[in-house]
């Protein structure tokens, strides 16, 4: 009888006995993520659930990510099959106004330049010995777009999902800190004070409705493997612009996005088990991700200068920095920097054009990456 009670009691407290040092470190990391989210307002909608998920998965013997654990169930429900990031994309499409981009379509090119960091970082990661698919997942942090990063890394390098997602979301909110020094370094005072005219013609409602449909077909034919990403963003945008399915648009922006964000967040946190997460590799992933965003900004601004040159001074290179996907932070940064040097300089609409171009750009960059991987026979 006494033995039985002792055995029974041993079940309580066994958790403490099984605490690995890595779990303790991760509990601290989780605390840091929660602090950043709650105190510093760093992407709280994602980082609160991620941080808490990381706490849960680092409690020993709870086995929440074991075969039948509840975090594993949620993970399998929507992360393993990539449905969660895609559903969030429907909501993002429903919230995005491509009007400013349609007004001045050549700005779209900045959205391409803002993705160059993805590919440059991919190359660097390969040189540091990462495998091809790991390098792809690391590069995609440079897409500066949560769902894209999650989609690609959960598909090709699920063991990096935690690091990649945390990097994507936290660097995204660091954009207002990372970008300005680079922008100042690469531009002249004269360039920064440039005004941009706004005599471009707005698009009609019909053009706005046709846009998501045509882009889906054209982009899908070019890079079919990226159609899940492109198609869901454009579905959301079509619902927004057509104006006849407000119930569905609202559901995508609210009900679906909220529920999925919560479930996605804890699932990502759940991949941060200390024993798997704390590796030198993870630190490298985080560093490369940081570099990717710097490279994005550099390429964006330089490309802005190039476009300025070719258009005969019609593009303020500052909006080149907004070509990365981090929406709408990057656009706000460009606007603010512009105002600093010329208080009558309203770059916002142009920057938002470049920024939404960057959203499509990051999706297309990932789509191209996936289709090229398939073309090379690296993935089936």
């Amino acid at each position: 009888m006494f033995d039985a009670i002792v055995n029974g009691l041993s079940g309580l407290g066994a958790g403490v006995a099984h605490l690995h040092w890595s779990n303790l470190v991760m509990l601290a990391v989780a605390g840091l993520l929660l602090y950043l989210a709650i105190q510093k307002d760093v992407e709280p909608l994602l980082l609160v659930p991620i941080g808490f998920g990381a706490i849960l998965v680092n409690i020993p013997l709870a086995d929440l990510m074991a075969e039948e654990g509840f975090l594993r169930t949620i993970y399998n429900m929507g992360v393993a099959n990539e449905i969660f990031p895609l559903l969030i994309f429907v909501g993002i499409g429903a919230m995005t106004d491509f009007g400013p981009l349609l007004e001045n379509p050549k700005i779209f090119l900045l959205g391409a330049a803002g993705q160059f960091g993805i590919f440059l970082t991919l190359g660097l990661a390969l040189m540091f010995g990462f495998s091809k698919l790991d390098a792809v997942a690391i590069g995609v942090i440079g897409a500066c777009d949560g769902p894209t990063a999650i989609y690609v890394s959960s598909k090709f390098a699920p063991h990096l999902l935690g690091a990649v997602s945390v990097a994507a979301y936290s660097y995204m909110s660091l954009v207002p800190v990372i970008q300005p020094p680079i922008m100042r370094l690469l531009t002249t005072e004269k360039e920064r004070t440039m005004s941009m005219d706004s005599d471009t013609k707005p698009a009609s409602k019909a053009a706005k409705i046709a846009f998501p449909i045509v882009i889906t077909i054209v982009g899908g034919l070019i890079a079919p493997k990226g159609l899940p990403l492109l198609g869901t963003v454009m579905l959301g945008n079509l619902m927004r612009e057509c104006g006849v399915v407000n119930r569905l648009t609202k559901a995508s922006e609210n009900e679906i996005a909220n529920v999925v964000t919560l479930l996605l967040g804890i699932s990502i946190g759940a991949t941060m088990d200390g024993r798997l997460f704390l590796k030198g590799q993870t630190m490298l992933v985080l560093s490369f991700g940081f570099l990717a965003i710097i490279l994005d900004t550099v390429c964006g601004v330089l490309f802005g200068k190039l476009m300025n040159l070719f258009t005969g001074g019609k593009i303020n290179p500052l909006i080149g920095a907004a070509g990365i996907s981090a929406y709408p932070m990057a656009a706000r940064v460009a606007q603010r920097e512009g105002l600093k040097y010329n208080q009558f300089n309203f770059l916002l609409m142009h920057a938002i054009g470049a920024n939404t171009g960057g959203q499509v750009g990051s999706v297309m960059a990932a789509a191209i990456m996936l289709s090229v991987l398939q073309g090379m026979g690296i993935v089936p």
């Binding site: 981009l101 349609l102 379509p105 050549k106 779209f108 090119l109 959205g111 391409a112 330049a113 993705q115 160059f116 993805i118 590919f119 440059l120 991919l122 190359g123 390969l126 040189m127 091809k132 390098a135 590069g139 013609k201 707005p202 698009a203 009609s204 409602k205 019909a206 053009a207 046709a210 846009f211 045509v214 882009i215 054209v218 982009g219 070019i222 890079a223 171009g357 499509v360 750009g361 297309m364 960059a365 191209i368 990456m369 090229v372 090379m376 690296i378």
Partner: protein
């Protein structure tokens, strides 16, 4: 395929491809604006 070759291809095709596709999108958008001009709207 060696990692070097892969990386080089990705950089060339990836950056070039993204730029080309987005340039194409820009052309498509200009076309859309021509096909569905703002004035036609009022006729609807």
């Amino acid at each position: 395929m060696s990692n070097l070759e892969f990386g080089f291809t990705m950089i060339v095709v990836g950056m070039g491809g993204t730029l080309a596709v987005l340039a194409m999108f820009a052309v498509v958008m200009n076309l859309l604006k021509k096909i569905f001009p703002l004035t036609a709207e009022k006729a609807d």
